[in-house]
């Protein structure tokens, strides 16, 4: 049978972000896969170098739209290490709380996306409906739904009140019940099992060799979790389990994420019931002393690492961001090969990719020679002309 090469991306309904996978097909079977990234390089690392630390916080937050708190916490921890700043315990607890709420939101989002990739839109709608609960919590704490802007160097910007605490605990009970339902669903619905079991196999040694992180690694029976292995904030005082699965496939990744939700609820309750008293931030000078620091954080997608070097001015000398997806990339090509085309979207989605975080960092490109750009007016004119040629006149419709 002749081979067909199918491009998956950079624009494709399965991928919500730009990444390119060239799949060589023999019938339905994938015999070769190449991964190409770099479509969304935004120059964040370079941009950080000529902004002040406070401005960088909000820039770093925009590395990722889902794990915004992970990146800022990681950046703050690296900067605080470099400048030898001690963060109050209450601030650390609030960081843990928001980090876990974010993990719940991210995992529920993933569950929905995974459902959509295997054509199970009902699961998608249900899990996103439930995700609103946790988004409401985050909105209540921080005032924003996605980019919480809660971290600042030396602490957090907003405190948790008693009413908020009660409200969050109430919503966590609802979510826990829903999560248990999803566990049943994932392990009992035959079509989900048919699409998840044995798909995208990644054996333990291969995961270790290719440096897989996060739920991808844990589903390959590799108990690697920064929260346990390199405890930061208050994690060494909190009680939680590292969830692993030995099935090494998409089903394992699904199970690991859903059970991690339960662990997160446990953590959220622990933090809220035992919130340390005290200030929520310390005063930090604008100019930080010279030094360097590494932030190490378990984002919902896996290990996130930031390196910050300060040079005594109010701007950093170098900020390096390594988002979790990049570490999982060499595993994708391995998992795709030998699989079916129909499984490609779910295999890619199973690492919960976030290409824009991965690429982070250069500038906007505008018109180059040979291309042209259209202004709003030009577009409108073009549209009116087209419809006029079809016999409909839109020219009197208001702008």
């Amino acid at each position: 049978m002749s081979k067909i090469t199918i491009p998956l991306g950079p624009q494709h309904p399965a991928l919500k972000e730009p990444g390119n996978f060239m799949l060589v097909l023999e019938g339905e079977q994938i015999v070769g896969a190449t991964v190409r990234l770099g479509y969304n390089h935004r120059g964040i690392e370079k941009a950080c170098e000529d902004r002040s630390f406070i401005q960088d916080l909000y820039l770093i937050e925009r590395v990722c739209g889902i794990c915004s708190h992970s990146h800022t916490t990681c950046f703050c921890m690296a900067t605080e290490d470099a400048a030898k700043i001690e963060v109050p315990r209450r601030a650390q607890a609030i960081r843990v709380l928001v980090g876990e709420l974010e993990r719940v939101h991210s995992h529920l989002l993933w569950l929905g996306v995974a459902g959509h990739e295997i054509g199970f839109d009902t699961l998608f709608m249900y899990s996103w409906r439930d995700r609103e609960q946790v988004l409401d919590c985050l909105e209540m704490i921080s005032g924003n739904r996605v980019h919480y802007a809660l971290n600042t160097i030396g602490g957090v910007r907003r405190d948790i009140t008693l009413e908020q605490k009660a409200e969050i605990l109430k919503r966590m009970d609802i979510l826990e019940e829903r999560t248990k339902y999803y566990i049943q669903l994932a392990t009992q619905e035959p079509t989900v099992l048919a699409r998840a079991k044995g798909v995208g196999h990644l054996p333990t040694e291969e995961a270790k060799k290719r440096g897989a992180v996060g739920p991808t690694a844990r589903a390959s029976n590799l108990p690697f979790d920064v929260r346990k292995d390199d405890p930061y904030l208050l994690y060494d005082e909190l009680d939680f389990k590292v969830i692993t699965s030995d099935s090494c496939d998409v089903f394992g990744r699904l199970v690991v994420r859903v059970f991690e939700l339960l662990e997160s609820f446990k953590l959220i309750r622990q933090v809220l019931n035992d919130l340390p008293e005290g200030p929520i931030s310390v005063k930090v000078p604008r100019k930080l002393p010279a030094g360097e620091g590494v932030g190490h954080y378990e984002a919902p997608r896996g290990e996130d690492i930031h390196y910050v070097r300060t040079n005594g001015t109010e701007k950093p000398d170098r900020v390096k961001v390594r988002a979790p997806t990049l570490a999982n990339f060499s595993s994708i090509a391995y998992m795709l090969e030998g699989g079916y085309l129909a499984d490609a979207p779910i295999v890619i989605a199973a690492i919960d990719p976030c290409f824009s975080c991965t690429d982070r960092a250069i500038s906007i490109r505008t018109s180059t020679e040979g291309e042209y750009s259209l202004s709003w007016e030009d577009l409108r004119k073009l549209g009116i002309e087209f419809y006029r040629s079809q016999g409909i006149d839109f020219s009197r419709v208001a702008k």
Binding site: D56, Y58, E139, G143, R158, L185, E189, P190
Partner: protein, 148 residues
Amino acid sequence: MVRPAKMLKELIGSLCTEPITVRYPYQKLRMPPKYRGRIACKADLCVGCRLCVRDCPSDAIQILPLPGEKYQFSYRSLLEGKKVNVQIEKPGRKKFKAVIDLGKCLFCAQCAESCPRKALLETEDYELAALTKDRLIRTYEGDGKTEQ
């Protein structure tokens, strides 16, 4: 343990309840207190330190001095033999206006935090879409109620 049609009960339940969707333009969303919506400015309180401008991650805010109030009087000059108008600025604090470009704003409210006089506020206003870019630029003078 495999159970086909696992969700059937839930589906029927969903058919019998109201949709979860908020029918937005007809039904407004309720924002929690301290929601970070449009940033407003009580320009009366502004002392023109421009800390907000310095901290804004996206250059969305500008603080511009307002021409102060003036005493105006005129007298007939004996030397030139004609009427001369004289303006003298009233003594007192200088006034400022804030120009905030909502197209650039990130709604992080760092400016509200940086402001030593708490002149900048977070509001619960979230319906900020506009058809043209220039309508996204809001100017605040006086007590913050007036805007363009």
